[in-house]
Symmetry: C2
Subunit: 267 residues, 2 copies
Amino acid sequence: MSFLRILCFFSLFSITFSHETLNGHVLPRPLIVEYPENTIETHWKEVEEEVKLQCTSWRFTVEANNLSPWKTVPGECVEYVKDYMMGRGYRIDLERVSKEAAAFAKTVELAGDGKDAWVFDIDETLLSNLPYYQDHAYGMEIFDPIEFDRWIEKANAPAIESSLKLYEEVLELGFKVFLLTGRSEKHMNITVENLNNAGFRNWDKLILRSTDDQGKLAIIYKSQKRSEMIKEGYRIHGNSGDQWSDLLGFAMSNRSFKVPNPMYYIP
Amino acid sequence: MSFLRILCFFSLFSITFSHETLNGHVLPRPLIVEYPENTIETHWKEVEEEVKLQCTSWRFTVEANNLSPWKTVPGECVEYVKDYMMGRGYRIDLERVSKEAAAFAKTVELAGDGKDAWVFDIDETLLSNLPYYQDHAYGMEIFDPIEFDRWIEKANAPAIESSLKLYEEVLELGFKVFLLTGRSEKHMNITVENLNNAGFRNWDKLILRSTDDQGKLAIIYKSQKRSEMIKEGYRIHGNSGDQWSDLLGFAMSNRSFKVPNPMYYIP
């Protein structure tokens, strides 16, 4: 609200000043009520609105999977992405996608043969790496796998609370839960530890990249793993992931749920 | 900008009033600079911001295909959707998706055998029915197929300019263009007339719903039609549509481009 304070004081001085100079004129003279539009503050507000408009459009392009593979958040949108991630925008979006996923899950008629499955990605879907990205410019820095591994090895990533709620609802309904992550098998133990620390329990299978899977595009690796599940007789009803490469490809789920993530892109 | 004028004048009076009453107090007393936060205008601004936040979140849920089949725009978001559709937000989003699609199209290496294809949906992708929806509460009214047919039969829907530009670029690059629409075959002539009026030329095939296709979900009907193209040897590189049912299903294109549309949903 400090902006409003500054604006109002600034306008107060502008109007006072106008009164003084107007005494020397008769016609034409500027209308006092038009004065605030010409202040620097108003112009600054317009610039801010324009950045918001453009960066919201950029974020839409990301979330609708329209953007070509992108490496980093555009510089002009870093403040916008920061405000979104740290503010209510991200939380509201997370809650909304979990709510929609839970509503769908409740409509599924489970066969009762233990073959009805839900697939979850891990990073930015169940666990949040936001504390890491806070220290790395919210996605404006090029991804550093060594630094990121150090963060992962702390097993300190908090749960995304709305996803934990969905996860528990899905389990409660009787789905088998598969965790399908791009993390390497060398991080198996630390990932289990982190998931447990964050409150995740009772998954059916945790699938990480084996040495054979290294170098594959995520969309291929994940499709292959889902394909194996289907060959084992599972019906994948729902799939939650923050990347479109979690959701598209082949052996797709009946419904997919795109968890918001404007910080990075995995092909 | 009239809002800013009102706010500034209101604040001016508030501050003046504060000065007078403060003379009677010593301590504790409210800081003058905090005063504007308590005005009705500020409260109204906060409500407006909250609606914007919630409806932006709703729009992202729609555009990322997270929302269960929905019938109408929620009442509290009608003003928001109107502002978006009539303002720069929609235009910027349209331009961005066309720009991304064109950038992708240029990266495709065409075989030169005339089998490289691009699929376009028609309504809200190439042609805009916004004049119709302006008269029908921007999607808050339940869809009325009879009224909508009357509008279609006028052949008056304008081109979405950024889509027309993409359409011409894609043709120029050498793609075969297929128009795949949910419109009925009885509207063949009127649709051709409207497309021509709006500047669209030289498509390879215009596919409309035959009597056999009536009653099928759009996602099935469109997948079947794409499947036929593939059987005829076409490679579908790109697909532009405002509905996820234009883009998902089977026989999917290599890349799809979700054109924004927060006004209606077709399963």
